[in-house]
């Protein structure tokens, strides 16, 4: 049944349907509503889980690490500074190959203090060894949550479901929640082969020297590469059962005959698609591509969607300070490796909640068409109403 739900509530319901046995968290805007809702479900007996109020995000991440190592399905959520405080544990969770699933309600990082949405938090931990899936709507947040546990547990890799803070978490929109029976049919019960068990003593997280540390990283890297096929297969499976896709690895929009394509992540795709429609109405051969899976970086899927494209604009809500666009740099490397010579323009915008509207994206398309994109100075222009800048 389709219902109008706030994003936090929708994703909390999806988590409940996945039957986690341990939920641990420390509150931080804009993810707090998710955890509040789950706490209510546990208190009301609607979710048979242990709810643990952690003393910090470092604690919350450590609790879910331990819970999963002990064979329990676990969930946590955070954002921004909270995610950064988890960083050390995030690497350990991935290195231990523990299938933790978490939500990052994407938000800017201080300083300056800013609570609004961009992708700087999750992008900062991109090398930690977590699968990162960026959702474009609350429906996708629900569907991706259910898929995330299956992916994580099948591949023994942690998954971070990245949903734009406020733009999704605090927005009411129509969502179809699957039934418990449907989710149970899709997501098998968690059976962890390496469960810590006093009856079968073993060491988890022992020391590793030069002889075998690197092979661990190689194995992790290989597992991440291989998970691409799993993400696609489980998404196809989901579509068969639920009639909706979570978005696969990448999602294209009006790519037929497109000469110029904007690549983006998350909810930004909505405004980009509106801009594409308006440009197409004016006869411009433009299209859009959304990276749903950023880690692993789905090189082949991207290249498959970019055949015949003559210019790519990567519009991203994060910056590697001193280097520039992160996705743009990775895409350039992938194209060069494949000997595809398509110019990639890197445009950064939307930092700290600055609004990226269809009008702004149209202006970027226009500059690209006019071959004046250098004048952008690599940052998106502002949205203006009657000449006055609107900061969102």
């Amino acid at each position: 049944m389709k219902q109008l739900l706030e994003g936090s509530q929708a994703v909390a319901e999806a988590v409940r349907l996945c039957r986690p046995q341990v939920v641990a968290a420390y509150p931080i805007t804009p993810q707090t509503h998710i955890i509040e809702r789950l706490a209510q479900h546990v208190a009301n007996g609607e979710l048979d889980a242990e709810f643990i109020n952690a003393e910090s995000e470092f604690g919350a991440a450590s609790i879910v690490l331990g819970a999963v190592a002990a064979g329990a399905r676990a969930f946590t959520a955070t954002a921004s500074q909270g995610l950064l405080l988890m960083t050390e544990v995030l690497y350990n969770i991935a290195g231990l190959r523990l299938p933790v699933v978490m939500v990052c309600a994407n938000r800017a990082i201080g300083a300056p203090i800013n609570i609004f949405s961009d992708h700087q938090d999750s992008m900062a931990v991109r090398d930690a060894g977590w699968i990162q899936l960026y959702v474009g709507s609350n429906q996708e947040a629900v569907d991706t949550m259910v898929q995330a546990y299956r992916i994580a547990e099948a591949c023994e890799l942690p998954v971070m479901v990245c949903m734009d803070g406020f733009l999704l978490t605090h927005t009411f929109e129509p969502v179809v929640l699957p039934s418990q029976a449907e989710v149970d049919g899709y997501l098998p019960a968690f059976q962890f082969a390496r469960t810590l068990d006093p009856a079968r003593p073993m060491t988890l997280g022992g020391a590793s020297e030069a002889d075998n540390y690197q092979p661990y990283r190689v194995a992790q890297h290989d597992a991440m590469e291989n998970v691409q096929a799993v993400i696609e297969a489980f998404d196809a499976d989901y579509e068969t059962q639920f009639g909706r896709t979570g978005g696969g690895l990448v999602q294209g929009y009006r790519l037929d005959g497109a000469i110029t394509v904007v690549l983006c992540m998350g909810t930004l795709m909505g405004a980009v698609a509106d801009a594409v429609d308006r440009q197409r109405d004016q006869g411009e051969a433009v299209g859009a591509l959304r990276l749903r899976c950023f880690r692993p970086f789905p090189v082949q899927a991207l290249l498959d969607h970019l055949k015949g494209v003559q210019r790519i604009i990567v519009l991203e809500k994060a910056i590697s300070i001193g280097a520039g666009g992160i996705v743009a740099a990775e895409l350039r490397a992938a194209l060069q490796q494949a000997e595809m010579t398509i110019p990639v323009e890197s445009v950064i915008g939307g930092l700290g909640g600055r609004d990226l509207t269809p009008a702004v994206i149209e202006a970027i398309f226009q500059q690209a068409t006019d071959e004046k994109i250098d004048t952008l100075n690599r940052f998106a222009p502002d949205h203006r109403v009657n000449g006055e800048v609107q900061h969102g």
Binding site: S117, H170, F172, D235, G270, D274, E388, Q390
Partner: protein
């Protein structure tokens, strides 16, 4: 994977203004829930920021006949709901309001210039709210008035939205809010005074009343 092409644009965009504690964000949710109940696609979201009692609050609603994929802000509403008339002195509340747009105001109509084409609907929503709720809460009263004046959502759908959304606050609260909603709905037809011809007040408009971008007008 391919994203579906969108066929139609938003039908109605609404911006709601109030102060922290007046239920502005709840009113936006109720309006979106009612539109959804009436079979439309809808979206409600607050102006993101720190929440504190008494501080200016904004919330937005999009109502559409097709899937709403936009998650950017809303700049050119078709209607503005103002829960606290004192905000008119400090905030550019009419910014971006489309020509001929509707203003639903809790209070008496302020002096405004002719020629803006705006339609004013003014009613003592706090008083009506207080009578039903025991507290001067204007939000459901103003929603009733908006619904009556625009017919964008039905009264039945609003009542159902109130019943569902406020259920956790108990039957008494639901009943009182539905009564407030109905009185707002009934009051609307008799309280649309014509605009008064006086010079514009600078603090009031801050030069933003006509501020509609070409891009947004084109939508």
């Amino acid at each position: 994977m391919t994203m579906e092409t969108k066929a139609e644009m938003d039908l109605h965009d609404i911006r709601l203004h109030g102060r922290g504690g007046q239920g502005t964000v709840s009113a936006a949710a109720l309006l979106a829930l009612a539109a959804f109940e009436d079979g439309f696609e809808s979206q409600a979201f607050p102006k993101f920021g720190s929440e504190r009692r008494g501080a200016p609050v904004e919330a937005y609603v999009r109502i559409s006949s097709s899937t709403i994929r936009a998650h950017n802000q809303l700049y050119t509403p078709d209607a503005v709901v103002i829960q606290d008339a004192s905000l008119l002195r400090s905030e550019p509340l009419l910014r971006g309001l489309k020509s001929g747009g509707l203003i639903v105001l809790n209070g008496e109509q302020p002096a405004v210039s002719e020629g803006d084409g705006f339609r004013w609907l003014c009613l003592p929503a706090s008083e009506i709210g207080e009578r039903h709720l025991g507290r001067p809460l204007p939000n459901t009263v103003l929603l009733g008035a908006l619904a009556a004046a625009t017919q964008w959502v039905s009264l039945a759908a609003l009542e159902k939205a109130v019943a569902n959304h406020l259920a956790r606050k108990g039957e008494e609260v639901v009943k009182a809010n539905i009564e407030a909603l109905r009185e707002g709905y009934e009051s609307s037809s008799i309280s649309t005074p014509p605009p008064i011809s006086t010079p514009p007040q600078p603090l009031f408009f801050k030069g933003e009343a006509e501020a509609v971008s070409k891009e947004e007008q084109a939508r």
